[in-house]
Symmetry: C2
Subunit: 129 residues, 2 copies
DNA sequence: TTAATAACAGTAATCATTGCTAATATTGTG
DNA sequence: CACAATATTAGCAATGATTACTGTTATTAA
């Protein structure tokens, strides 16, 4: 698709995203990757995150928070955000909600191509507190 | 709930939100309300939009765009965003999608309180082009 | 080996949003 | 009505997330 050249920095970012389920922000990725590349710049992190999303190697998650989050798991799944601790977790229990596209298409004169959805509530860890 | 005092500025913002279906950003509200109050400041617009959302007089819509949008229609409904023109429109045809909360709650150990969802695709106006 | 060019670190700039402050408007009470 | 308490305002500075720029370095293909 594009003329991408290999870079150690991008590879490290991709590996980190694949290894974690914490759905990090760009800043969290920056902090983590600096353990390997102490001089990496935040701009490089942002540029590579965008490249990875464009290449389909990562997903951008917008949960209304001030900053975006990224997910190295590109399989189709939904997310849950805890309103107490603001952590984002994966919901692998739902197969697909694509049937709601048909509901939305009813009496609608445009073309529904898809949807964005996430759930919120209290996560298991925060429930007891 | 709060100790709110009346203000012409807030009333004008509220009226505008109620009168339109264009789901304006803070900047669009600013441009509109400046027709009535040429000296109103953008900070006043932001503060009043936040107040109106807190009072339940408006809804904040986050569609992954760079800026938030606001809706004076507080009845329960979903939104559609055109990927071509980026306009947001209302979907009054769907009653409710609350059944997806139960789907998400399956085999999930936290508490699902609700969901955020919007649809995307091509709007009627952009379809022909 | 070299030439072309993508990627880099460092830094400045942008954009949306919030915070601050002194002046003004609203509201309840005497 | 007058007045005191205080919410609201305009104007502007500050913040935070993200992107743009620039001169140098790394990757790649011939």
């Amino acid at each position: 698709m594009a003329n991408l050249k290999y870079s150690k920095q991008r590879e490290t970012i991709k590996e980190y995203l694949r290894s974690t389920t914490e759905h990090p922000t760009a800043d969290m990725v920056y902090d983590k990757v600096r353990e390997t590349f102490p001089n990496i710049s935040l701009g490089t992190v942002y540029r590579n995150l965008n490249l990875l999303v464009n290449e389909g190697e990562a997903i951008r998650i917008s949960c209304g928070d001030s900053s975006e989050r990224f997910d190295g798991n590109t399989s189709n799944h939904y997310h849950f955000m805890c309103t107490k601790c603001h952590r984002v977790s994966d919901l692998f229990n739902i197969e697909s909600l694509d049937h709601i596209n048909a509901l939305a298409a009813n009496n609608f004169n445009g073309v529904i191509e898809g949807h964005v959805a996430y759930f919120y509530g209290i996560c298991e860890e925060c429930k007891g507190k």
